[in-house]
Symmetry: C2
DNA sequence: TGTACATCAGTGAACGCGCGTTCACTGATGTAC
DNA sequence: TGTACATCAGTGAACGCGCGTTCACTGATGTAC
């Protein structure tokens, strides 16, 4: 029971998501219509409606996939061999930024509630919460390792998040996208995350 | 020569910009069409074309206005009475964030080159450069006041910018927009900017 | 001073286009009896 | 084992809508002579 009927090629649902991501990266949000997606996936313009109620549902699936990838990348980076605290902070930020630059379409969709109301997309909501929990644990660990929680853990969390998120936005869509040649981007990421690490180190954490 | 013909009410050009900002704040980018803007400004759907070639030109005018406002707000905040360095850093960040939250439509348009190619909008380009120059001078002053330029001035500039920009994005469009009630927003802004100030202070700058 | 012409902001009808949406259909798979 | 029915992914024609764009027009202001 519930066995799927045979489908030619990979799952159409998955193909639609892939086509949407590709479309977003090439031509941006405004170009993402149900009809264009169907065209890209090589099916009739009605086919996508069997898998997604509307555009927002497709964006929700992309956001879910994005949060899952971000969780993986962040966890992998942070759980590396025992690093000193300031390097762990720099590494975590780097993982976030590199994820954003490697998956621009996912990243843009994940953080715009006007596009994807997460309440309509329980899967994306859950993955987003998981990512947030990882970040919270990261800060907890940092404080346990000697970082003073000044003025509060919440503020530190927001500070770390803001640095990584802000740089990602500036590099992805902001003026940095034009000002900095791609060749210097990696260097720039290292410098900014190291600057944050240095500040963290300076504030008195030596673990 | 070149004297403008009489116009009923305020300049139509200005009314179109205002209507566009209002439309962006109420219904977002996707709702901004030339026809809808004309409707809001109370003129025929062709009238806006006498002042703006297309949608991008309107967005360019909004970006220009936004950069001008940001320059004003930032300059006012930073040139206040002599503050110790760490407070000057916190104040600068606060000005940036508060500008973004007070003028969401302007802010969103200013930092998306896919929407407004600044090369097509020399006015916006110039104001943007001016804002960037202010930021550069802000960092120069901080370094002159004792902040170690580690690993480089560029990196410090990007770090400060990223913190303020990242928080603004998260609060405006990101998950923070939903998670944090408006009443706590001001407190949150203070905490984050103070956390940055504390780090700056800890790194050895005492001016 | 008047006359004739140029300029320019704004109007309103008409067009073709891509969109979301509705609807009747096809054809394969699964299920009841 | 067969027959009859249900389900469900995908098709393709048809619709009304808002959009950008083209075009001929109006009416006020400015300019040449």
């Amino acid at each position: 029971m519930g066995k799927q009927p045979a489908v030619e090629g990979p799952d159409l649902r998955e193909r639609i998501v892939q086509a949407s991501v590709q479309l977003l990266e090439e031509r941006g949000l405004a170009a993402l219509s149900m009809r264009e997606v169907a065209r890209r996936a090589g099916v009739s313009h009605q086919a996508p409606y069997h898998h997604f109620q509307d555009r927002e549902a497709i964006l929700g699936a992309i956001a879910e996939e994005g949060f899952r990838m971000l969780c993986e990348a962040f966890e992998r980076a942070v759980n590396q061999a025992d690093l000193p605290l300031h390097e762990r902070v720099a590494t975590g930020g780097r993982a976030y930024i590199e994820f954003a630059l490697a998956h621009p379409a996912h990243f843009r969709v994940m953080f715009r509630p006007e596009l994807v109301n997460l309440e309509h997309c329980p899967g994306a909501q859950a993955e987003g919460d998981r990512a947030f929990a990882l970040l919270r644990r990261f800060v907890d660990d940092a404080v346990a390792a000697g970082l003073p929680a000044v003025p509060s853990k919440e503020a530190l969390l927001l500070l770390f998040w803001s640095v990584a998120h802000g740089f990602a936005c500036l590099a992805l869509d902001g003026p940095l996208a034009l000002k900095t040649p791609d060749a210097e981007r990696a260097q720039q990421i290292h410098e900014v995350t190291n600057a944050l690490g240095t500040l963290v180190q300076g504030v008195g954490a030596r673990s």
